[in-house]
Symmetry: C2
Subunit: 137 residues, 2 copies
């Protein structure tokens, strides 16, 4: 925010200086009107694009789906449970997850069961859907 203010202040200052400069050079007859218009056109064209790009970037970053870590905590998901949830969402079976995390299938079943309760889901597919809706995966 502070950066934005400084940048804009400097920009406006630069423009005022430019305008004064152009006015004097016009009066002294060194430059043709056409050139002045062209310079102004190009500068403001650039400013338009620049400002617009800034605005759109801000929009994008706010729209972009970021993982809601606070929500994970609120749901009471433990580290391991969350890990298992991620693997479930990637389409793995309990056995595959067990192999990947070097534990038994029973353990994964326990974790998945706990995740389902905490997410208030009936099935793992529903857990995936809910997780995506809550931006936790």
């Amino acid at each position: 925010m502070k950066k934005t203010i400084i940048v804009f202040s400097l920009l406006i200052l630069a423009l005022l200086v430019l305008f004064q400069f152009i006015k004097y050079t016009l009066v002294s007859g060194d430059l043709q009107t056409e050139y002045v218009m062209a310079i102004i056109a190009i500068i403001f064209f650039g400013i338009g694009i620049f400002i617009n790009k800034k605005a759109q970037n801000k929009q994008q970053t706010s729209v972009k789906k970021e993982i809601n870590y606070k929500k994970i905590e609120d749901l009471g998901l433990s580290k391991r449970e969350y890990e298992v949830l991620q693997q479930v969402a990637s389409g793995l079976s309990n056995q595959e997850i067990a192999d990947k995390l070097f534990v038994s299938e029973s353990t994964i079943k326990t974790h998945v069961s706990n995740v389902l309760v905490k997410l208030n889901a009936k099935r793992r597919t529903q857990a995936i859907q809910i997780s995506k809706a809550l931006n936790i995966i």
Copy 2:
């Protein structure tokens, strides 16, 4: 594309007319140089924003996750199979999907089984993952 060309042609034409107009009014001394500069600045500022917005929209539509209908066809998914896939992705069980679409669970099982083969998935959770990766849901 044709629209773009027409719009730009008209825009350039309008600008040329404007420039000529400004030149003559300047010569006749009706307008002050400051105002002319201001008008040009505003116009090109607007053009800059407009063009940039167009460009970004195009970028976004290519980045934005839109359903890849061509891919659905390529995979050979039938209308009904795709419908079932969507329900699966929303976290419903076979029985729930059956009730929703007014058919038997057997039918849904058949559809799901076909979808799994076509998506090269072992489980419905994997089918969801693959579908999202392919932007077909």
